[in-house]
């Protein structure tokens, strides 16, 4: 049986790509806004770059939904001495990220069963034979 938490987490699915990417970025530890943006660019090999507007609009909604929390404000020694606000994943955010990952994994399995993706551990088939 599913408990109330899991149901609440699943009520938010599917997540927008921006929200899921932010959750993924924060799953690696707390980060400030620019750090989140860099992490996403790296994770997607530069294919997804969030502008500041999309980033903070998502952050606003995620704070409101309780997916993330504000951490403290402190400078990032690697960048400069400006004080920056850090964000971290909440327990609920962690569960939502897990639920979304499971949902996507299920979809990938289905895609694989329908031969849209190569089977795990085999090279993609090219050409005949």
């Amino acid at each position: 049986m599913m408990d109330e938490n899991a149901r609440e987490a699943e009520a938010l699915l599917p997540l927008t790509p921006a929200v899921f990417q932010i959750l993924l970025a924060l799953a690696g530890g707390e980060r400030h806004g620019y750090g989140i943006m860099r992490e996403i660019a790296e994770n997607t090999e530069g294919k997804m770059r969030l502008g500041p507007g999309t980033l903070y609009r998502s952050i606003k909604q995620m704070l409101a939904a309780g997916l993330i929390e504000e951490s403290d404000e402190r400078p990032d020694p690697a960048l400069d001495d400006e004080r920056r606000r850090y964000y971290r994943l909440s327990g609920f955010g962690q569960r939502v990220a897990e639920a979304e990952a499971r949902r996507l994994a299920q979809l990938v399995n289905t895609a694989r069963a329908r031969r849209l993706l190569p089977e795990v551990g085999t090279a993609p088939v090219r050409g005949g034979a």
Partner: protein, 293 residues
């Protein structure tokens, strides 16, 4: 020193961006403006480090597009314009559409009258979901009123399936929608079998909905077709009907069809819920016997 014009170009860009931030609603700007400028400065430094000051041009293009879209959305929120916001909690589905109403009516004080009316209208077969049924499951000659009665839960389940596809904003009825439709139909033999097998139909429904998600856009006025697997399920259901020498197609045949098809989302969800072909086959005769011929 090259770094002086570089620094200057970044400073100027961030200064302009701070001014442009005034297009956002005041509360949003007050909450996040400073951080957004920091992020923008970071991007500027990155762009200039890679390609010099000309690198700022594409960055500005992308940033202004982002700004136009999100500022409009933020003003929408600020002014309370109702819009589809994905992050808001979706209310638990109370099944919309005609058939939720129909279900209530069927059991209400005018239930009997309503049933009679519905029989007279007999519009089921003209609905698109029914028109897509393959010939293999249409009824043959010599059918009795009892046979006809037993097809009705199936017809409803199929209409529910179409409703489900519509509600999830999907353009095709897949095995998953067939299953959701079948779970909503509580009068057929399949419902009885699932009950006897102790299946938590709500859990199955959640399982399926969890996998399929919901589409972005509403599907309006488009013909909703069957997926290849769904068609296969219906064919197998017809096969089951013939194998049992039944002259009607009941929900039990539909359920067996899903299980035999074996690869669709419906079969997966049923198997996860512990519903297997043999168990259903064993239960069907008793359940359909109790329903009365």
């Amino acid at each position: 020193m090259a770094s002086v014009p570089l620094k200057w170009s970044i400073k100027a860009s961030v200064g302009v961006y701070r001014v442009v931030l005034y297009v956002y609603p005041p509360r949003f700007r007050a909450a996040y403006g400073r951080e957004m400028a920091q992020v923008f400065r970071g991007s500027c430094r990155e762009a200039v480090a890679r390609r010099g000051p000309p690198g700022l041009l594409p960055l500005w293009g992308a940033t202004l597009r982002d700004l136009a879209v999100t500022a409009a959305q933020e003003w929408g929120d600020a002014l309370g314009i109702a819009r589809h916001r994905r992050l808001r909690m979706r209310p638990r589905a109370s099944y919309p559409g005609r058939y939720g109403m129909m279900r209530r009516r069927r059991h209400g004080p005018f239930g009997e009258l309503y049933r009679a009316l519905k029989r007279m209208r007999s519009g089921f077969m003209s609905r698109p979901a029914m028109r897509t049924l393959p010939e293999s499951i249409t009824l043959g000659p010599g059918i009795t009123e009892a046979d006809r009665r037993r097809t009705r839960p199936t017809e409803r389940a199929l209409i529910f399936a179409r409703d489900e596809a519509e509600w999830h904003h999907h353009t095709h009825v897949g095995t998953e929608h067939l299953l959701l439709g079948l779970l909503r139909e509580r009068e057929g033999v399949a419902a009885k079998v699932l009950y006897v097998l102790g299946v938590d139909t709500e859990a199955v429904r959640r399982d399926v909905e969890f996998i399929i998600g919901r589409g972005e856009r509403e599907v309006v006025g488009e013909a909703i077709g069957l997926t290849r697997r769904a068609r296969r399920v219906l064919e197998l259901a017809g096969d089951e009907m013939r194998a049992m020498n039944a002259r009607y197609i009941g929900t039990e045949h539909l359920l067996l069809g899903m299980l035999r098809e074996g690869e669709g989302i419906a079969a997966g969800a049923l198997n996860r819920a512990g519903v297997h072909l043999d168990a259903v086959r064993a239960e069907v005769p008793r359940a359909s016997g109790e329903m009365g011929a």
